[in-house]
């Protein structure tokens, strides 16, 4: 039975601990992706970021995605942790860890999860510009998808 962890946290993400949760003797590949808050995007300086979520829905969508990743990529383990609240520039806002018998599936699953997290999980960021103005980010594109419910 694969390990599945999905969590929203308010403090710093312990990325080593996230990776450790998917450790498995049957896995020959362990992948850790860490998304960090960018301080510079092109010429635009971001002074700080803040994340907000619809927490119950975010948790249930994160868990449904992690479970789907395990099923479709035959993972040994999968962990997804997203930070909420203020996140200093350069810090981890999200960590995804996957383990699988071989590296191809572990990499593919981590990439797939990040794509879906950015599309479907009800979490929003607010960027604070160098002049102190703060803006919620609502990208163009289709609304969050109707994703399958988590299976009991």
């Amino acid at each position: 039975m694969a390990v599945v962890v999905c969590r929203l946290v308010n403090g710093e993400i312990d990325t080593a601990a996230v990776l450790a949760t998917v450790a498995d003797v049957a896995a020959g590949a362990h992948v850790l992706f860490v998304g960090t808050t960018r301080g510079v995007t092109g010429d635009v300086v971001t002074r700080g970021l803040e994340y907000e979520a619809h927490e119950p829905l975010a948790r249930s969508v994160l868990c449904a995605l992690a479970e789907e990743a395990v099923r479709t990529h035959t993972l040994s383990g999968c962990a997804v942790v997203h930070r909420l609240g203020a996140v200093p520039v350069g810090s981890a806002s999200v960590a995804v860890a996957t383990s699988a018998p071989h590296r191809r599936e572990a990499f593919a699953a981590a990439e797939w999860l990040m794509e879906r997290i950015k599309r479907d999980v009800p979490i929003w960021k607010r960027e604070e510009a160098a002049d102190g103005s703060r803006t919620w980010v609502h990208p163009d594109g289709p609304p969050a998808a109707v994703v399958p419910e988590r299976r009991p």
Partner: protein, 78 residues
């Protein structure tokens, strides 16, 4: 009924919860009721998903009078 707003939608509305009269109907009808009660969210609402009782719902889905409803504007996590 109380409809929950988040992020830029809460900012545009100037509130995190909107109270509207609702005796039941579809998600599409609820969208129209929200837009009528709070025109400030209209543009963003058209690009948003709607969650009913903790699940994303299609426009055809039923929304009972007692449902817990949240509008989910385009997300930017990660």
């Amino acid at each position: 009924m109380s409809v929950q707003f988040f992020a830029g939608m809460a900012e545009a509305a100037g509130m995190r919860r909107l109270t509207i009269g609702w005796s039941g109907g579809s998600v599409a009808e609820l969208r129209a009721a929200i837009a009528a009660a709070c025109p400030a969210v209209g543009a963003l609402l058209a690009r948003s998903a709607v969650a009913v009782d903790g699940r994303y719902a299609t426009d055809a889905a039923a929304v009972p009078a007692t449902a817990d409803v949240a509008v989910i504007p385009p997300v930017s996590g990660g």
